[in-house]
Symmetry: C2
DNA sequence: GCACGAAACTTGAACGATTCCAGAAAGGGG
DNA sequence: CCCCTTTCTGGAATCGTTCAAGTTTCGTGC
């Protein structure tokens, strides 16, 4: 298993000079077990173990973790923010227009596709984010059943 | 000039069976003159000519126009929704992390880059949206000045 | 040119996600 | 073990967006 354990999270936090706190460890654990969850789901998951954690703490923690790069924020248009543990390979996401489900998608062109814009207008680009919009297998099935 | 005129907007609206109303023409004009504006800016622009237009009307119009494909909604993570007149070439956007400025970027690979995910997990993908995150020329200048 | 039904607009309130604030608690270097 | 700073708690405020009721306007058919 390559799944990070509690102690790993502790090391990761210290590595970016963040204090090791219960809420933070709980959030990291929640994200390890449930990728692509939104803030509310994180809160529920965290409270399963630590009922006293405030929603504000979860917002603070998620912000601190995204700012330091431990966690990646995904925010498809029109949906609430979702989070996943940051992994080095820059993979992208397929988002279902119907139910909002998110799946990981590896880069088509090996690494960092389209990272170099043809004409960048002087922008200094550090990341290319790709969202594949479509319909997930389940919703495809359901909609075809209905026809 | 290839800029659409009022009469063109009228034809476009009729083409998608939408009624031709003053608010709709005003919104289209505003977007023609100011690409990448948010709802609030659209409202201001529209009210310059038609002071009585309600904010709700602008939301309705923008929704109707995006639903019918006349207008494209852009919603970078953490920012409010922005809109631009839909153009056929599927171009993408460079977004400044500092000031939120948006610039059009043509596809690096000719058309529709990365539209085919390597493993789509059964998703039926109809669009690949690419956001280039970085720093715009102005913010680059300002930050280097400060150092 | 006029009336009628449906679509669109106005006004105003409600809503959900996120942020701000002040005070209490807890991490961790000395 | 203490103190200072960071973090957390609780609650209110904010922002963008949407919902709802009633009125106006578009555009088709007479």
């Amino acid at each position: 298993m390559v799944v990070p354990m509690k102690s790993d999270f502790e090391a990761q936090l210290r590595a970016v000079s963040l204090r090791v706190t219960r809420p933070r460890l709980a959030v990291l654990s929640a994200l390890r077990d449930h990728p692509h969850v939104d803030t509310d789901a994180v809160l529920s998951l965290v409270r399963a173990d630590h009922p006293t954690v405030s929603h504000q703490a979860v917002y603070d923690v998620l912000r601190a973790l995204t700012d330091t790069g431990l966690v990646r924020r995904i925010q498809p248009a029109g949906a609430t923010a979702r989070y996943e543990l940051r992994v080095r390979d820059n993979h992208h996401h397929a988002v279902c227009r119907t139910c909002g489900a998110i799946a990981d998608v590896d880069c088509a062109d090996g690494l960092a596709p389209c990272l170099t814009a043809s004409d960048d207008h002087g922008f200094v680009i550090d990341e290319a984010e790709v969202v594949y919009w479509g319909t997930c297998p389940e919703c495809v099935t359901h909609s075809s059943e209905g026809s």
